[in-house]
Homo-oligomer: 217 residues x 4
């Protein structure tokens, strides 16, 4: 729905749209540039406080240019999130997808956390995007395609581990895991060096111990 989304579609291959909309290479570059700038600004100031003008400035273009590619601030966040998820899949492949039930849980959790943390350290926006303009009872609707996707992926990772658990409960567990992830991530990012390592270990412990009694032996 975002301008950028249309942009991502490789021309000619996708279903024919109203107008071919043959995006030029320059535009594609601009979009990347804008998303990079947005990532930087979101990371620095948080999503809510980030201004579209600031993003444009950081990208070295005029505000108007930004709006040629994105209809509004939220669309930028959404596209950014979607690209992050995409890259996550690309990079880690099966990380968060169904695992061999034989693998020890500790190892599954350890690997997942490691890779997740690693990814976040290389893409600090990720965190900023997950803390959108949240109002308590309202887990940021469309804004959080990111959150939703994450939950879905964790869900499909958990399913084979919890074969006898009813779906709604798996879903709840997945929600919980993502929440714990986020909480741990916050602490990890807030520290450095050995301390950071320690928090990573703790996070693994939390998840491992939480899930251990649930998995089928």
């Amino acid at each position: 729905m975002s301008g950028a989304e249309a942009a991502t579609a490789e021309d000619g291959q996708a279903a024919p749209q109203e107008r071919p909309r043959r995006r030029q290479a320059r535009g594609e570059r601009r979009i990347a540039q804008l998303l990079e700038a947005a990532a930087s600004v979101f990371t620095t100031t948080g999503y809510t406080a980030a201004s579209t003008n600031a993003i444009a400035r950081e990208a070295g273009v005029s505000p108007g240019t930004l709006y040629q590619f994105f209809p509004n601030k939220e669309a930028i966040a959404i596209e950014l999130g979607s690209r992050l998820m995409h890259e996550m899949r690309e990079t880690y492949g099966e990380v968060l997808t169904p695992v061999d039930p034989a693998t020890p849980l500790e190892q599954v959790v350890g690997a997942a956390v490691d890779r997740f943390i690693d990814f976040n350290c290389r893409h600090p926006v990720f965190f900023a995007l997950m803390h959108g303009p949240d109002i308590p009872g309202r887990i940021a609707e469309e804004h959080d395609a990111l959150h939703a996707t994450l939950v879905t992926r964790v869900e499909s990772m958990l399913t084979p581990l919890l074969p006898d658990t009813p779906a709604p409960e798996v879903s709840r567990t997945a929600q919980m895991c993502v929440g714990l992830y986020k909480a741990g991530l916050e602490l990890v990012l807030a520290h450095e060096g050995a301390e950071r390592e320690a928090y990573v270990r703790e996070l693994k412990n939390v998840l491992h111990r939480y899930l251990d009694p649930l998995v089928v032996d």
Copy 2:
């Protein structure tokens, strides 16, 4: 430290003895009124999006009056947080303070979570204040006296349970617990009825299982 305190303190020097009393009384009422309004607005819109004008309007006073008691928006949040912590102590007394090592952990965690959740449901601002204008690596410095206090309290609750654990590790565990609390709380608040209950149970499980291997039997 709080803006309100600073404001009320100023007149203690110039005025005679009985005057300050009444002035302070009126001032206290105003402050309470303003904090109540602020709580309402923060809850509805979140801290960042809340405007001081909106708070003043909600309190039924002019913006000028608000600034007579608080130097800025942050000061309101800080004072609000400090009062919340105070009330928490008043209400639950020993909840989060050292416990009899004989009490089963499950019970300790269960009681703490129940009361904490209960407190949050009666004071929804609490949540809003914990999700201030956070920037990833920077756990909202002065803003989060709230967070800091909470951590301290959890720390002192954990100490007797972890007698052989070095202080820094206890501190880390406390940080972790508070983080997990927050994560769980978010999910709890986002649901209602039976689903909410289920999330409360999950949160208890998380904490219990996390701490269980750490406590001395």
Copy 3:
């Protein structure tokens, strides 16, 4: 509904509102000043092209000040229109109100047109306001309280002249008269001196001849 409307209410006399809202004299002056500026800008550029910033600048205040008194551009136009109608009533009293059926129609029309034109020359905004952001089939809803009021007044002026005519037809005739007024006014304002006088005469003729066959002898 507009901020200014609330302002116009003389305090203490009207029903007690939420808060007394004791508007200060300065504010009242500001409102007058802003409306004057708005009148000037609307007259020069037309309603649609007028910018709130331009109005503020013309009034010698900051944009923020304007928005302290009016929630948006439309509210300014509405308040301006309402004040114009008010002044019209004040100035001309019975102009557009029921007339003695004995008065010759020519004289009735002549007087009404003269006063109307006169009023418009002294308040050129009037015309600008009647040409709001019209889209063909949509005679500018609330915007045109002005138009509506005018029609109502003309209606009540026509009623005694057309005693045997059904109400809907009177209403239609009134609409028509106002439309003709506006059309004539445009031509009158577009000319000067003798030419203007000639157009005034023509307008009178139009109306007189249109209504003549309708009135009861």
Copy 4:
């Protein structure tokens, strides 16, 4: 005069004989396409609020293309108006041209109004164009070639009916008639069905009664 003409004229010098033909043909199609789109947008949003980008989008071309044929927004309106007048002449031929003095005025007026209204209903832009970005005393100069042309035509229609009237007065009467037309049209378009019919009748009455005393019997 029109931007389109200027654009198409340019290439006549450089190219050989047959090339221009096809180029012009394609250009003509583009222009027609653009004008159609402009008509649609003007009708929907009004002239002032219409954006050239919106017109280009509606036409399915890029903004750049639009500006290859028209130097600016106004030029589009002008060309559109001129084509409308042209079509009016084509379609109704003698409608607004000199009439047989023997024809009863009522019939002349009736036919003219009917055809005019009919034309407007089939070309709703017409109305939008006549309500351009008018400023009171300034009957939209160049913009209103439309208005001017209309006046001229009405003038030439009136001349034989008012043989003894001095030219300037005829001109004034023509201006007046066009103004009344516009006023009536607005009301007609604002209603539907029987109500619309009623307004059409009223408009005819207005014009008939206005002109009746002026024509030579």
